[in-house]
Every structure is written in structure tokens, then in C-alpha cells.
């Protein structure tokens, strides 16, 4: 691996790091685990980078590797219940747009998403990132029809969690 490649990779990842952070917030529930997963995803991205030929956008390519790492490779570290501090980072809404009802609802929804299975989380993530069904099915390795069916089920699941 030459210096130029390293530099190029780190620059691109630095620019697009939000994608990885978002995956980490979905799949972990404390700061330490978040950092662990971020690091593992970075390692996997770097390992796969020499094969990345720019046939897709760097960010599109990242979605796959990041989700794959979270779904397949990563083992949850020992449970630590210090989510309080972590939640404030995820849910804090800027003061000028503060709306108690909306904030409450968002909190409920994020909590609900946390309870979903790994695969369901991946679907929600891709949905929130505005990915179309073609990309979702391609990323997860299921057919488009099944991606739709599954997505509807996830939405229903969220609905029941939110309105028991």
C-alpha cells in the first residue's frame, strides 16, 4: 500500500464519515462500542479499498462495507448501560427548533428502532438514507420484491411498537 493510496482513502473516509457514524449509532448503544465498531468498519473499508475502482460512488460503496461489518462481523461488546450520555448526542434537537411533542415522538421512534433485529435495522437505515429498493435489495442480497415486503413488515413493526 503506498502513501498516496493511504492519503486518498483517509481523505475520502474523513469526508464521508457520517455514514459510518450513523451505522454505529444504530448498532451500538454506548460510546465505547460505537468507537469499536467505527474502527472495525474503517479496517474493513481499508482492506477492501485497493479493489475499489470507482465503479460506484465512494459513499455508495461505503454503505455496503459498513453495514456488512455491523451485521456479520461485529460482536457486541459486553453490555454496558451507560446509554444516558450517549442518547443525548443522538436525540438532542437544536434549541431553536425545539418541540416537546416532536422530540418525544422522535425519541420513541429511535428507541423502537433500537429494538429491531440487525437486518431490520439495516432496512430502516437504508430507507432513512433515501436508498431505492434496487439498491437495498442489492446491498442485502435479496430480491426487490422481498425488500419491499420486508420493509413493509418493518414499518408495521415500528407502528405496533409506537402505538401498542
Amino acid at each position: 500500500m503506498n502513501k498516496e493510496l493511504e492519503h486518498q482513502f483517509v481523505t475520502e473516509l474523513e469526508e464521508n464519515q457520517n455514514i459510518v457514524h450513523k451505522v454505529c449509532t444504530l448498532y451500538t448503544n454506548n460510546r465505547e462500542a460505537h468507537n469499536d465498531l467505527f474502527q472495525e468498519i474503517t479496517i474493513q473499508l481499508w482492506k477492501a479499498y485497493p479493489k475499489f475502482r470507482g465503479e460506484s460512488k465512494f459513499s455508495t460503496w461505503m454503505y455496503r462495507v459498513a453495514l456488512n461489518t455491523a451485521i456479520t462481523l461485529y460482536r457486541k461488546s459486553r453490555r454496558r448501560i451507560d446509554t444516558q450520555d450517549y442518547d443525548s448526542v443522538i436525540y438532542k434537537i437544536k434549541a431553536d427548533e425545539y418541540d416537546p411533542t416532536e422530540e418525544q415522538q422522535l425519541k420513541l421512534m429511535y428507541d423502537a428502532i433500537r429494538q429491531l433485529s440487525d437486518i431490520d435495522k439495516a432496512l430502516v437505515f437504508l430507507y432513512l438514507e433515501n436508498k431505492d429498493y434496487a439498491e437495498i435489495s442489492d446491498t442485502l442480497g435479496i430480491t426487490e420484491v422481498n425488500a419491499r415486503v420486508k420493509m413493509n413488515r418493518v414499518k408495521n413493526k415500528l407502528r405496533t411498537i409506537l402505538n401498542p
Partner: protein, 214 residues
């Protein structure tokens, strides 16, 4: 509900401002860290399996053992078994290597999980193959010792004189079967535990995706 999801989406897009931000240097340091992924663990465990079983094979076929096999009339049998063993070992190493190389994180999630499970399956098959060989050798050696071994003859003669030859053989077979079964059970439990811990999550997720395709 749709409205709530739309609201969530909007909030999600805004999330960027509240996410942690790492510097170039922090990310740069990360790319040199060691991966702690399960694929790595499976790789190490597999290498250990290969080394372990090959060592056992080598240890059991030293010069002294060959002499013993000769006296037990198992010489040809052991030659054939050892040859088969090494051919199969080479085959498994090749298959392991090919499967391992196939693991790619840019693949779809389903394919990725499938290839990881395939690597694990190759190694498990190799372990079972070795256990079978081990069990067969054990039974043959017990039989050979009783038939041709110096002490074995005496034991068989004593049993014949006591008039219980059939019972004696039934007992021998029974004890061998129980012993082998117990051994296999132990090893099975060990692997169940080992891979159960390592692959629980991956299996769960793989099943969930696979279920969709039915």
C-alpha cells in the same frame, strides 16, 4: 405513521450536525489497527485445527508405531489410511483457502454471510473426517491387539476357556461403541460452544435473510 416516518427521515438527515467527528489523523491511525472480527478468529481456529490434526497424524505414525502395526497385522491398513489422510488434508486446505479468499465485504450481506459460513463448514467437515479416521483406527487397534497382540491372545483365551467368547466380543464392541460415542459427543459439544459463541449473531442474521427467499 407515514408522517412519523417522514419526520424521522428529516431528523435523520439533520443528524450530521450531532454526530461525532474524527480528524484525518485519528482515522489514519485506525487503518493500522488489528481487526477483531470473527472472520479473523475463524481463520486462526482453522489453522489450529489443521496443525492439531496433522500433528496427531505424525505422532501416531512414528517408527515405533509402524513396528507395532506390523505385529498387529495392520501395516497395509495403516499405510492406506495415512495416504488417504494426507490426500484429504491437502484437499481441505485447498478448499479452505479458496473459500477464505471468496470472503468479500463488498459483496451483498447475504453472500458474505454465506461465504463465511462455508469457510467454517469446510473446517468442521475436516474435523469430522479426522474423528471418523480416529474412531476407525481406534477400533482396528483394539481388535488387532486382541487378535494378534501378546496380551490380547491371553485375554481372548481366558474368555474362551470361561466359555463366554460371544459375550466377551459383545462386551468389547459395546465398550468401544460407548467410548467412541462419548468422545464424539465431547468434541461435538466443544465445537457447538465455540462456534455457537462466535457465530450466533451471524447465523441469526443469515437465517433472517434466507427466510425471505422462501
Amino acid at each position: 405513521m407515514m408522517d412519523e416516518l417522514e419526520m424521522l427521515k428529516k431528523d435523520w438527515q439533520r443528524k450530521g450536525e450531532r454526530l461525532p467527528r474524527l480528524s484525518f489523523d485519528e482515522i489514519y491511525k485506525m487503518i493500522w489497527k488489528k481487526s477483531s472480527s470473527i472472520v479473523k478468529w475463524i481463520f486462526y481456529i482453522s489453522i489450529l485445527e489443521f496443525v492439531f490434526w496433522t500433528t496427531i497424524n505424525v505422532l501416531f505414525t512414528d517408527a515405533e508405531s509402524w513396528e507395532l502395526f506390523k505385529t498387529l497385522h495392520l501395516y497395509e491398513f495403516t499405510i492406506v489410511l495415512t495416504t488417504i489422510n494426507y490426500v484429504i488434508l491437502l484437499y481441505f486446505i485447498y478448499k479452505f483457502y479458496v473459500n477464505y479468499r471468496k470472503i468479500s465485504f463488498t459483496d451483498s450481506s447475504r453472500n458474505l454471510m454465506k461465504t463465511i459460513l462455508n469457510v467454517k463448514r469446510t473446517v468442521t467437515q475436516y474435523v469430522w473426517f479426522n474423528l471418523t479416521v480416529f474412531a476407525v483406527s481406534l477400533v482396528t487397534i483394539i481388535y488387532g491387539s486382541l487378535r494378534y497382540g501378546p496380551d490380547g491372545r491371553k485375554i481372548v483365551d481366558a474368555a474362551t476357556q470361561a466359555g463366554n467368547e460371544t459375550l466377551f466380543w459383545v462386551l468389547i464392541i459395546g465398550v468401544s461403541v460407548v467410548f467412541v460415542a462419548l468422545l464424539l459427543l465431547l468434541v461435538w459439544l466443544f465445537y457447538k460452544l465455540l462456534y455457537g459463541i462466535l457465530l450466533k449473531r451471524l447465523r441469526q442474521n443469515y437465517r433472517e435473510l434466507k427466510k425471505l427467499e422462501v
